[in-house]
């Protein structure tokens, strides 16, 4: 069965998910996964849906673009190959990297560069910059999967050095500690 992935962007308001899913339902598509988030006032949603055999990607794309543009939403759609995720086959250890420090440009770029260089995958990122120098107002939380083969010490050292250069306090901790403390 063909699958499609649809991303929707636009100013947040009631009815966005309803509008998208209504079109999918009308076209006889089955929604398999949805994730949405709101950053400040903007909505972003990703839908994975399976299409019936008699529906072409072009036809679905046309109806989505047509109807969603009318309500001022940006849509991207592409077909999805059924394949194993690249990272799934690697044995990993989940860690959480947290930074706090005064807001300035290049913080995310500075930290993620090192994470990427070590082949570490970010699985969730929450960054809130309220601006100013109050460390607690400017926090980045990266949940990452560190492949078992990665030189943990080198990764640690590089992250700490970079954090220092960016005036950030950094913590690097195995994810289990947060689950142990907070969850029953």
């Amino acid at each position: 069965m063909n699958k499609v992935i649809i991303s929707v962007l636009g100013q947040d308001r009631p009815g966005i998910v309803a509008a998208v899913s209504k079109i999918l339902f009308r076209q006889n598509c089955n929604v398999e996964n949805v994730s949405q988030t709101i950053l400040q006032s903007e909505f972003a949603g990703i839908f994975i849906a399976s299409m019936p055999a008699d529906l072409s990607l072009e036809n679905l794309k046309e109806s989505l673009l047509d109807e969603l543009h009318r309500i001022d939403l940006h849509v991207q759609i592409k077909s999805m190959q059924d394949q194993d995720p690249v990272f799934a086959s690697i044995e990993i250890e989940p860690f959480v990297i947290t930074t706090k420090g005064p807001d300035r440009k290049g913080l995310v770029a500075g930290i993620t560069e090192i994470i990427a260089n070590h082949g570490v995958n970010i699985t969730n990122l929450q960054a809130v910059f309220k601006g100013g120098d109050e460390p607690g107002d400017n926090i980045m939380i990266y949940e990452v999967d560190v492949p078992v083969g990665v030189d943990q010490k080198a990764l640690d050292n590089e992250l700490r050095q970079r954090a220092k250069a960016l005036s950030l306090d950094i913590s690097i901790q195995h994810r289990n500690i947060f689950e142990a403390i907070n969850r029953i």
Binding site: V96, T98, N124, Q126, V128, I139, I141, E143, D156, S171, I172, Q173, H174, R175, N176, I177, F178, E179, A180, I181, N182
Partner: protein, 457 residues
């Protein structure tokens, strides 16, 4: 996916509330090292300890770093030396204490406990030799800790042993007079001593334990205090039932940390995991104090009227939260009130809010007992023994652990300051009231019988 709240609150506990793992204590069974030949015994002890403990410190540090939680102390607890060295003389046992000290230094642990005897019902030859060896052993070594169990709910109180301990404490203080009697800080007298305490000076590996075991002592008085402060700030009318609930939840979190670290250390060392001791253990630092919790609960200071009730609430809530968090809870598991080791309690002693009598009273509702209490150097051994006997009676009758770690500071009087340094802290010397005259009672000796287990009122 974790929530940002979960992550940020955990980081706060670690960064500003002094949450740490206070100790990972490796228990090592030395019973089969026993020998008539002291050199053989020493060699066996040395190789046994270094074999089991050689990676202890590096593994603790590695795992501490992995989780961002420091393991502050790494310690060893061994089988009671009075049993292992039952065939030895007092001077040979002093020699053995130096071997323990050297082995502890070699594997870089902070303390080694187990220079211990269990004499609640009677004193065997080896026990007597060990008790006689204690003052010299503790003054000749840095890391060795001693404990003697002189009473239990099943056996009663061995008053002959209590008197011997009064003498041992006095001697230990004199032998380290130049350091305010610091040897006494490494000596605990117990009633109902548990077999799996990870904290010093009471840690030893019980006779019923395996070859090796990892026990963990958590800490976190600062976390409890901050949780109470935050809750009362957002709702000043919070009642004590709700505060107890809050302490339970906080103790749960602290205990989970200890269990996670302990299990992983045990797994890495390929040693069985024993227990988490969920005691609130303070240090002489601001924000890491049990005493401060009393102030957060609205008391002027620890020691004022209301203290016993507040401590009862605190201790019970900690136990309930901890017992829910882990099915492997043991050791002392309660709130400690070591006077010199807790900056706030030490301050209460200086300002006169807390007395020896009030300390004794509150030990009926908490672990452990009269802990790190500096008393005048001229306190007689009979008086020291009598204070111990009182403390033991509280434990024996109430079916709980109690202990006395008293330091008669040589050459100093009540109101003077005693300095022990490091985690042992410092304290104003508390007066021992009404201790004049001869104490014939304490010299009568014998056994105070075990208490009746019915008609409990």
């Amino acid at each position: 996916m974790l929530t940002d709240r979960e992550i940020i609150s955990t980081l706060e506990m670690l960064e500003s509330e002094n949450l740490d793992v206070r100790t990972v204590t490796l228990g090592i069974n030395l019973l089969d090292c026993a020998s008539h030949d002291v050199n053989k015994l020493k060699n066996k002890i040395q190789s046994r300890i270094t074999h089991f403990a050689k990676h202890l410190v590096t593994v603790c540090d590695k795992i501490g770093q992995k989780y961002g939680i420091p393991v502050v102390n790494k310690r060893i607890a061994v089988s009671p030396m009075a049993v292992v060295g039952a065939a030895l003389s007092s001077s040979q046992l002093i020699d053995v204490s130096k071997t323990l000290d050297a082995a502890a230094a070699q594997v870089n642990v902070d303390f080694i406990g187990g220079f211990s005897a269990l004499v609640e019902k009677g004193i065997a030859r080896g026990d007597r030799a060990l008790i006689e060896a204690i003052p010299h052993a503790l003054s000749a070594t840095d890391r060795v800790c001693a404990s003697v169990n002189v009473a239990s709910t099943r056996a009663g109180i061995n008053m002959d042993a209590v008197l011997l301990m009064g003498n041992a404490i006095k001697q230990a203080a004199e032998l380290t007079a130049h350091r305010d009697g610091i040897a006494c800080a490494k000596l605990c007298v117990f009633a109902n001593i548990p077999q799996d305490i990870p904290f010093m000076a009471g840690a030893y590996l019980g006779i019923g334990e395996a070859d090796a075991v990892i026990n963990v002592g958590v800490s976190g008085p600062g976390v409890v205090k901050k949780a109470i402060d935050r809750a009362l700030e957002s709702n000043p009318n919070l009642d004590l039932g709700r505060i107890s609930e809050l302490i339970k939840k906080t103790a749960y979190k602290v205990t989970r940390v200890g269990e996670l670290i302990g299990r992983e250390v045990a797994e890495n060392l390929n040693i069985r995991f024993g227990v988490v001791d969920l005691s609130l253990a303070p240090t002489p630092h601001v924000g890491d104090s049990v005493g401060e919790i009393f102030q957060s609960l609205g008391l002027l200071s620890i020691g004022v009227p209301g203290t016993t009730a507040a401590l009862a609430l605190l201790n019970d809530a900690v136990k309930k939260g901890g017992a829910f968090a882990s099915s492997k809870v043991g050791g002392l598991s309660g709130a400690f009130i070591p006077v010199s080791e807790d900056l706030n309690i030490s301050e209460a002693a200086r300002e006169g809010y807390i007395s020896l009598e009030k300390l004794e009273a509150i030990t009926s509702v908490c672990s452990v007992g009269l802990d790190m209490v500096a008393i005048p150097g001229d306190t007689s051994e009979d008086t020291i023994a009598a204070i111990i006997a009182d403390e033991m009676a509280i434990g024996v009758i109430n079916n709980k652990t109690t202990a006395a770690r008293l330091i008669p500071v040589p050459g100093k009087r009540a109101g003077d300051s005693a300095y022990f340094g490091g985690l042992l802290g410092q304290s104003t010397i508390l007066p021992v009231n009404n201790a004049q005259g001869a104490n014939h009672f304490i010299r009568l000796g014998g056994l105070i019988p075990a208490p009746i287990h019915s008609l409990t009122n």
